[in-house]
Each structure stands twice: as structure tokens, then as C-alpha cells.
């Protein structure tokens, strides 16, 4: 391993730029003549718009244009789309209502887009927005996930019972049969709390139109600029792809929320042509709370059947998933194909059946958020496993060991074919790190101090590297999920890699360069990573689902293969040898059995000057591209153990120890991977203890600021003990599985399993706030007193 190659903890190349204020985010982009957009949003969760009077507002100082849904319709600008078709149990397609970028006679959640004002300054735009008179006829709001289906109020005419789909996966008959034969059945009702993503950088957009060329340019906070261009061109109808450039410059965090194509960027790029000026919009934090796609929001009943020995026989799950007021770009895939196929967890479960009802409500759209479906699945499985172990009087670690999948490949009853893994190895390591043997003593010590100590496990699995195009296509995806790369060698041997992956915190500029440095034997500083601009990079699919390592880097790997192959041809001419006799290693092309060699930089120069070979026989230049379509999902898995202490007097939960042992396959940069694990756990602990988006019965978002929405802070978290086990992924050339979401997937059940262990009962929901824990602990105190 070289100091900058695969496996080295190279410091992030991009961080100097970021920490010295030199990053260039969308809001830093300022075009000559730029105007400001302000969106007038619905104050009501559900209302008919009887009229919009913009006359007085349009006459106000600085106003360049005020547009409503009618203007978009007149220009034949289409609505926002949902790119994944889900079919009902009976085979009929899901019932999707229209999703206009600006309201068409109806608003369906607080924050819904009513009109846009474009003005010289933001203050002028806001002043004018206040002068717009909207006559609303308020309608009753549907807010609660569990009560949406069949509610009197209908949100979209296309879905008369507010149900988008009734979907299922697995074998119902086999599952029912297994339950009948079971000796023990564990039943749980679970709520997976709704979350607001809260990337540090709020969403933003700058639309620009070059009237001379007839070309639109959109700068936007996107995790996948090419998909944004595809949707804005082919479905929304802004302009053909060759007339629309989308640039996602530095992006300050996404966590899924910046995958989607939203109303604001659609309107900004369209309005730039309407007003003949570049148009900028940057969300303030309140807008982010109201209108970024939220995450999770499941209500679930789940049952697990075991035989007399504790062997798991079957799993049955019914989930109601809240998709909000409209279907966001990939919303339908999250509670279906990103959820139910993970319900086998790390366990050999012969029969699984899962039903999912997806509902509309008068709340912000819900879509993928770090983990997307897999945290929800892991929460169901790991809560059930822990509670079952308790009910059977079995040690939770041993119960897991008893039911782990041991042989690979393993076909689960819910689509997935796990390729490799060693779950017992991760568990063993995690038990050592947490000092499981000492837990009894530590619990007694806590009890003496009046505290309740608990320990909780989470043996998670996820499916990443999303995903084989044919597979996702057969499941309803509107796109393939391959990735592209171009490796462009300059005449002096420096390298530019153009990738369809997008970095918004992941550190691609470092890890991708490590791969190139490692394989071409060149210094890491000679490698630049270029991404996020549809004019520079050929079509790409972007970054989400922990896919950039497994899929994005595999595309680079393939392109490098081609560069080396071409380099060998060049070297064969230069070194006057047979191509078959040329080897490439450590940055040098050599002739087998001789001391003749050509270093990589010289080879590049020879390729471009083309003096040593006939350009008709061998094309000049050294630049290769590749598309990589994965052959399977990848299956990162691991064991997290959380140990915590509850103060029953205040309800405060303090996490004392955290062991995280993950199998991510081959690791490119352990420092960056550890950082991803830390961040993921922080978000998962946030979900378990702190975060929860709450709407009141009128559909007002009560937690619309950091004053009421509790983000995890450093002092909410312990020091993490991170360990790794490695089973290389067999389906991609680098053996990578992916690490971006693991922490957020693993941690919520670990925390809740630890809290319920401490409490001695299962009656606590997420987020387990001090108030909730205090109340739940009163039962524990009386129980302790009784004992």
C-alpha cells in the first residue's frame, strides 16, 4: 500500500478549500444582472385557491415578474414527476396525483408553492409577495399517517381514498402456514418517526438563459445534476438536453434530500427566460423545514414466528407509509423496494410477507433520507429480534448467532441474493469492544447510583451500490442505475477523471484520486476529479444509496483498464516490443525479461505527439471512458452495540459506549469511512433520541425551526469505538460495498433496544426524548421497588 493508494488514510484534498472559505456553493454563484426570486407559499395545509390577484404586487418597486401555475401551464411546463412506478397487489398502477411546480387551484401542504415573485432585490420580492392577494377556501387537512386512508377529505382526485398504492412482497401463504406452526410469536407496533433532513447548506438555484444561443443554465444544489437535466428536459419540458446545462457546484450535504427535482429550480430556470435576467433563489431555514422532502414516517405492525428452539420461521409486516402531499421524485421506491427486500436482515428466515399501504397526507412530500427504507426495515427486524430474545429468555447475542445466515450466496424470500458476509465475526468483535462480559457489573453499579443501564444490539444489513439496471427496471425504476467515468490523461501524464458521481461531503476528490494514484502509479496531486457539470461530464446517475464507491469507482476502474491497455499499445511502439510482452506496474510500462521501460508520463506524451507510431494503425491520444452497470446490489452489514444510562429522575439518556463493527468490503480510505460511520450514527441517534417532525391537527409544522426540532449535537454523542471486518464484495472489481448510510441504518434500533433493556419494558417510541423516557421510567421505578 502506497501512502496515497487504496487503503491509505489520505487527508481530504477538498478540505483546504472548504475550511478556508474557498468553496463555491450555488449561493456563491452570482450572474451579471441577476434578479432574486421569492416563493409565496401556502399558509394552509389544504385549501382551494379561488383567485390570485397580483396586480398591486406587480406594480411595486423592483418587481420584474410575478408568475403563478397558470403561467407555467400556458408555457406547457409540465409537473414534477415520480420516477418509480409501483404496482398494486392487483397489478394496477399506483394512483398518483399531479404535482405542479406552482399550484393549480389547490394547495396541499403548508409551504406549497403558490406564486413566485422575481424582483431586483430579495426584500422587494418579499414586499411584493405580501401584496399578492390570494383568496383561499380552506379545506380540512389530513395529517396522521395511520388515519389518512379512508379519511373524508380527499387530497388528490386520482387517489379517492388517499391511498397511492397497496403493495406487497413475499409469499403470504407460506408465511401464514409458518405462523400456524410456530411455538412463539412476537408482535410489535412501531412508528418510524418523521425526520427533516437539514443539510447544512439549504437548497438553492440560479437560472440563467443565453438568448443568443438559446441555452439555459441551471446552477443547483443537486446530488445528481444529469438526472435533474433529464427530468427538466424530457418530462418538465424546459428545453432539450443539448440546450440545458445543469451545474451542481460544491454542495453542502444532501442526505438524499438533494436527489429530487423540486419546484424551485424548475421555476427559476424557466423564469430566467421570462424576465430575461438570471434568477436566484436560496432557501432560508424555515423554507428548508417546510419544503425539503422529509424522511421516514412509517406506522408498522410486525410479527415474528419462532419454533420451540428459537429458530426463526417467518416474518409478517404491515406498514403504512406517509408520502406527503405529492409524490417526490423517488418517493414510491423508498417504502417498497428499498424497504421490504431488507426485511430478512442478517437472518435465515424461510418465509416473509410484507404489505405496504402508501398514503397521501397534507404534509411535505416524503422521500429518501440517509438509508431510505433500509433504516425503517432494520428498525422493524432488530426490534423484533431483541424483543423475541427477551420473550424467549435468550441472550440477544446468542439468539442472533443462532439465526444468522452462515452460507453464501443466500437467497432471501424477498428478492435479495446476499453474496458474501461474516456476521458472526462482526458480532464477536463488537462484543469484545463493548466488554459484554462486564455489562452485569456495570448495570449493578448504575443501579447503586440510582440510574438505569441498558445495552442494545443492532445487526443490520443494507443493500447498496444501487443497482443493476435490469433489476431495478423490472421493479419499476424509470432509469438504469449504472455509472460513467472518463479518464483523461494529459500529455505530461497528469490525469483528469470525469465522473457521473457527485460529491457533497463524501470526499470523492480524495478517494477517487487514491484509486487513480494506486492503479497508474502517479502522485495523487497529479489527479483531478471533475464532477457536477453536464457540459463537462457525460451522462451520469449521481450519488445516493452508498453507490459512488461500488458503482462510480468501478466505472473509473474500468476506464483505467482501458487507459492501461491503450498505454501498452503505445509503449509497444516506443519500446519496439510486442504488445503482449508489455507489462504495466508501479507507473512503468516494461518489456518482459528486459530492463527497457517507459514511465506513464512519457507514455502519455508519446500518445499525444504520436511520432513513434502510425496514427492510422493506432489512434493518437490517451483518454478512455467506461460505463459500469453493477451485477448485484452490495450488502454492507455489521453489528452496532449501544450502552447507555438513564436518569429516571430527569429522563435524560446518556449514551456511554458505542461499538460499531462494519463490513464494508474493501476500504479505500479508512479515515473517510470512519467519518461516514460517525456521521451516520449521529443521525441515527438523532432519530432515536432527539428528532421528530410534528404537524398539528391543522397541518401546521410545529417543528419548523431549530428552536423546536432537535438536531444532534456533539455533546449528545459518546466517543465511538469503530471496528471493521472485511469480506470483499465479489460483484465489483474493487470489492467495495459502501459505507455512507450504515451508521444511520444501524443505530436507531441499537439505541431503542438499549433503552428498553434499561427500562425493562418495550413501551417507548422514537424519539425517546427526556419527557418520554421519564414517563416510561416511572413504570420501571415502581417495578424495581416491587422487586
Amino acid at each position: 500500500m502506497s501512502a496515497t493508494g487504496i487503503g491509505a488514510a489520505v487527508r481530504r484534498k477538498e478540505d483546504h478549500r472548504f475550511i478556508t472559505g474557498q468553496g463555491r456553493y450555488t449561493d456563491d454563484v452570482n450572474r451579471p444582472g441577476q434578479a432574486q426570486a421569492y416563493f409565496l407559499r401556502s399558509p394552509h395545509a389544504h385549501a382551494k385557491i379561488k383567485s390570485i390577484d397580483t396586480k398591486a404586487a406587480a406594480a411595486m418597486p423592483g418587481v420584474l415578474g410575478i408568475f403563478t401555475g397558470a403561467d407555467l401551464a400556458a408555457d406547457k411546463i409540465g409537473g414534477l414527476i415520480c420516477g418509480w412506478m409501483i404496482h398494486n397487489k392487483d397489478g394496477s398502477p399506483m394512483r398518483a396525483g399531479a404535482h405542479p411546480a406552482l399550484a393549480q387551484g389547490r394547495v396541499r401542504y403548508v409551504g406549497d408553492h403558490v406564486a413566485v415573485v422575481v424582483a431586483e432585490t430579495l426584500a422587494q420580492a418579499k414586499d411584493a409577495a405580501e401584496a399578492i392577494v390570494v383568496d383561499y377556501q380552506e379545506l380540512s387537512a389530513v395529517v396522521e399517517t395511520a388515519k389518512a386512508a379512508g379519511a373524508k377529505t380527499v387530497i388528490h382526485d386520482e387517489a379517492p381514498d388517499n391511498t397511492v398504492f397497496n403493495w406487497h412482497l413475499g409469499d403470504k401463504d407460506a408465511t401464514d402456514k409458518a405462523f400456524k406452526a410456530a411455538k412463539h410469536v412476537t408482535k410489535l407496533d412501531l412508528v418510524n418517526n418523521r425526520l427533516v433532513p437539514n443539510a447544512m447548506e439549504p437548497r438553492a438555484a440560479v437560472g440563467d438563459y443565453d438568448a443568443g444561443e438559446g441555452i439555459f443554465t441551471l446552477y443547483t444544489t443537486s446530488q445528481n445534476p444529469h438526472v435533474a437535466r433529464l427530468v427538466l428536459s424530457a418530462f418538465i419540458g424546459i428545453a432539450p438536453e443539448n440546450k440545458l446545462r445543469v451545474i451542481a457546484p460544491d454542495v453542502g450535504g444532501g442526505f438524499g434530500s438533494k436527489i429530487f427535482i423540486y419546484a424551485e429550480e424548475t421555476v427559476c430556470v424557466w423564469a430566467a427566460k421570462k424576465v430575461g435576467r438570471p434568477v436566484k433563489w436560496t432557501a432560508d431555514r424555515t423554507e428548508a423545514f417546510l419544503s425539503d422532502a422529509h424522511g421516514r414516517d412509517h406506522v408498522t405492525h410486525a410479527e415474528l414466528a419462532t419454533d420451540a428452539d428459537g429458530k426463526i420461521l417467518a416474518l409478517k409486516v404491515h406498514t403504512t407509509a406517509n408520502l406527503g402531499a405529492y409524490l417526490s421524485t423517488f418517493s414510491s421506491s423508498v417504502p417498497t423496494y428499498l424497504y421490504a427486500p431488507l426485511l430478512s436482515g442478517q437472518y435465515d428466515i424461510p418465509a416473509i410477507y410484507c404489505e405496504v399501504d402508501a398514503v397521501y397526507t397534507n404534509t411535505a412530500p416524503v422521500d429518501a433520507y440517509r438509508g431510505a427504507g433500509r433504516p425503517e426495515a432494520t428498525f422493524v427486524v432488530e426490534r423484533l429480534i431483541e424483543v423475541t430474545a427477551r420473550q424467549l429468555g435468550k441472550d440477544p447475542a446468542k439468539f442472533r448467532l443462532q439465526n444468522y445466515i452462515r452460507k453464501f450466496p443466500h437467497q432471501t424470500p424477498v428478492i435479495m441474493a446476499y453474496d458474501t458476509g461474516n456476521y458472526a465475526a462482526s458480532l464477536k468483535k463488537a462484543l469484545e469492544i463493548i466488554d459484554y462480559k462486564g455489562i452485569g457489573k456495570r448495570k449493578r453499579d448504575s443501579a447503586r447510583a440510582g440510574k438505569l443501564r441498558g445495552i442494545g444490539f443492532s445487526s443490520y444489513i443494507e443493500a447498496c451500490g444501487i443497482a443493476p439496471s435490469a433489476a431495478v427496471g423490472s421493479l419499476g425504476a424509470g432509469v438504469g442505475l449504472w455509472e460513467s467515468a472518463e479518464v483523461r490523461v494529459n500529455p505530461i501524464g497528469t490525469v483528469e477523471v470525469l465522473t457521473g458521481s457527485h460529491s457533497h461531503g463524501q470526499g470523492h476528490e480524495t478517494t477517487f484520486a487514491q484509486l487513480v494514484s494506486d492503479r497508474l502509479g502517479i502522485p495523487i496531486d497529479n489527479v483531478s476529479i471533475i464532477h457536477g457539470d453536464t457540459d463537462k461530464v457525460q451522462m451520469g446517475m449521481g450519488t445516493y444509496g452508498s453507490r459512488s464507491g461500488a458503482v462510480g469507482m468501478s466505472a473509473i476502474y474500468k476506464a483505467i483498464d482501458k487507459v492501461i491497455a491503450k498505454g501498452k499499445k503505445v509503449a509497444a511502439y516506443v519500446l519496439e516490443a510486442d504488445e503482449a510482452d508489455i507489462d504495466f506496474a508501479d507507473g512503468n510500462f516494461t518489456v518482459k525479461g528486459t530492463d527497457r521501460k517507459l514511465d506513464f508520463g512519457s507514455c502519455a506524451l508519446q500518445a499525444y505527439v504520436a511520432h513513434k507510431f502510425n496514427g492510422q494503425e493506432l489512434e493518437p491520444g490517451l483518454k478512455e471512458g467506461a460505463f459500469y452497470d453493477p451485477t448485484n446490489f452490495t450488502f454492507p452489514a455489521g453489528v452496532h452495540i449501544c450502552e447507555l444510562e438513564i436518569d429516571p429522575q430527569t429522563g435524560v439518556t446518556k449514551i456511554d459506549r458505542w461499538a460499531a463493527v462494519d463490513d464494508f468490503g474493501v476500504v479505500i480510505n479508512p479515515m473517510i469511512v470512519e467519518g461516514q460511520v460517525h456521521g451516520g450514527i449521529a443521525q441515527g441517534v438523532g432519530q432515536a433520541l432527539l428528532e421528530g417532525a410534528r404537524y398539528n391537527s391543522d397541518g401546521q409544522l410545529v417543528t419548523a425551526s431549530f428552536m423546536d426540532y432537535t438536531m444532534p449535537r456533539a455533546d449528545d454523542l459518546p466517543s465511538f469505538d469503530v471496528g471493521m471486518t472485511v469480506t470483499p464484495c465479489p460483484s465489483n472489481p474493487l470489492g467495495i460495498k459502501g459505507c455512507g448510510e450504515a451508521g444511520a441504518i444501524a443505530s436507531p434500533p441499537a439505541v431503542i433496544n438499549a433503552i428498553t433493556d434499561a427500562l425493562g419494558h418495550e413501551d417507548i417510541a422514537m424519539p425517546a426524548t427526556p419527557q418520554a423516557v421519564w414517563r416510561a421510567a416511572q413504570k420501571s421505578i415502581s417495578r424495581l421497588a416491587a422487586e
Binding site: 418579499k126 428552536m707 432537535t710 419527557q771
Partner: protein, 267 residues
């Protein structure tokens, strides 16, 4: 934010003149409540009178048996003051736990007291310590000064210039932070001066800061956490929100009072 005129006087007297002269004028101290409210367009004063350059509103002095703190003294200055740390360490401790470092370096005692946010820390200290609020016009006891939620006895054109705290023999402050905002969800300041004991509670009351007479009586008998064993504050008149309903908040008043007494007695 809407447009406004901005004035920066250099003395309390000048500030008072501007406040009287300018229509719809607001005083700007640390600005940690006023400015966000203005940014959200929830407040739109026509004029802002910034007290930041009024040197006569700043500083901490020990005057006889009182610590006198200028209204524009920041929380960080109070927290770091050797005089305050020596005279009333619980007050320095309270100041050192207001908000975060940004807030403590901008926010001022006068601004906090004048705003009388029901979740602010200082009102509990003023009430428990028996402090006097000194304005450009008069002197008010803390009990006279705090009149209700965000309400004070301040009249038009009146500016707080100083807060004077009498020295006490023992004092302690304990708060339970709101998990999201980290304001005091319940904050209890206890103080013992001679045979008098005061317990003041912030963050919890529907009408803002208040005293807990039953706990005071118990602590007068013996100033020890044990005196409060089995003591519970009722939930009537106590705030409820998504973070803490009245029952939980009332329970926390008892817990925080015991902690504050423990701190005051070094136990």
C-alpha cells in the same frame, strides 16, 4: 427585514432622547431576540437605537454589599468577572451557561431582563437574589419589575441602566435545557441571605418567572436538598409544549431545586 433608521448614541442620556424623539423606536442591546424577529418580518420598528456604544451602560463594580452590573454588560463578561465569581459564584455560573458562546458574547443582562423571555435565565437570578433594576428614571425590585410573559414594568422611554445584586451567603442555579433550543425548560435559582431563603423558577411558569414559597419555607428550616425530599410542585399554572407537558415540567422543578440547593451547599 423591513427598512428602518439606525441610531448609535454614545450615552444613556442620548439614547433616551432618541427613544423619545423617534417614532416607533426600539432599543437594540445584544439583538438576539429583536434581530431574528425583524429578519422574519415579525417586528418592524421604524427606528433602531443601538446601545452598543453607550460606555456608561457597561461594566461591573462591587459597591458596598452589592454587585452592580451595567445593562450592556455581556453574559461572557459577567461569567468571566472575578468580582462576580468571588461575590456570587452562582450568578457567574448562570451567565456562563446562557445559550452558546455566540450568544454570550453578544447578549446582555439588560437586554435579557427587559425582554423577560419566560425561558431566560437571568430573571430567576434577579428574583431569587432580590436584585434591583435601575433605570434612567427609577429603581424597581425584581418582583415589581417582572410583570408577566415578556412583560415588565418598563414604561415608554425608560431604559435599564444597571442591575444591582445584594450579596448572599449561599446561592445555586440548576437548569434543565430544552433539548432543541437549549433555553431553560426549567431553571431554578436558590439563594440564602441571613435567615431568608428564596427559590425562583424560570422556564416553567405560564406567567414567566415565579417564586416557590413552599420550598422556601422548607429550606428556611434547613438549607439542604434533603429538606425537599418528597416535595412536588403542582402542575397548575405550569407551561406545556411538545418538549415538556406541565406534569413533567412541574416534576423537574423539584429535581432542579434539589440540584440548585446541592450546588449552593457544595454537596
Amino acid at each position: 427585514m423591513y427598512a428602518f433608521t439606525y441610531h448609535k448614541p454614545t450615552s444613556a442620556r442620548q439614547a433616551a432622547t432618541l427613544l423619545a424623539k423617534k417614532e416607533d423606536a426600539k432599543l437594540l442591546a445584544g439583538g438576539h431576540t429583536l434581530l431574528p424577529t425583524m429578519k422574519q418580518r415579525l417586528a418592524s420598528p421604524a427606528a433602531i437605537v443601538d446601545l452598543g456604544a453607550c460606555a456608561d451602560l457597561k461594566g461591573i463594580t462591587l459597591k458596598g454589599r452589592n454587585i452592580v452590573i451595567g445593562a450592556m454588560t455581556t453574559h461572557a463578561e459577567v461569567a468571566a468577572s472575578a468580582e462576580v465569581q468571588a461575590a456570587i459564584p452562582a450568578l457567574a455560573y448562570l451567565a456562563s451557561h446562557i445559550g452558546d458562546p455566540h450568544v454570550r458574547h453578544r447578549g446582555t443582562i439588560g437586554g435579557s431582563v427587559a425582554n423577560n423571555d419566560p425561558a431566560a435565565d437571568y430573571p430567576a437570578a434577579l428574583l431569587a437574589l432580590g436584585a434591583t433594576v435601575i433605570t434612567n428614571k427609577r429603581k424597581l425590585t425584581a418582583e415589581e419589575f417582572f410583570t408577566g410573559l415578556y412583560e415588565t414594568a418598563l414604561e415608554e422611554g425608560e431604559i435599564i441602566t444597571k442591575v444591582s445584586f445584594p450579596l448572599v451567603s449561599k446561592a445555586g442555579y440548576a437548569k434543565f435545557r430544552n433539548p432543541a433550543s437549549r433555553y431553560a425548560m426549567v431553571g431554578v435559582f436558590v439563594a440564602k441571605r441571613g435567615s431568608d431563603v428564596r427559590v425562583a423558577v424560570t422556564g416553567a411558569g405560564e406567567g414567566g418567572v415565579f417564586r416557590w414559597p413552599e420550598a422556601e419555607t422548607a429550606l428556611k428550616v434547613r438549607f439542604s436538598p434533603k429538606s425537599l425530599d418528597g416535595f412536588k410542585h403542582g402542575s397548575k399554572g405550569i407551561n406545556g409544549d411538545i418538549h415538556a407537558d406541565p406534569e413533567y415540567r412541574a416534576h423537574l422543578i423539584g429535581v432542579m431545586t434539589r440540584q440548585a440547593v446541592a450546588q449552593a451547599t457544595g454537596k
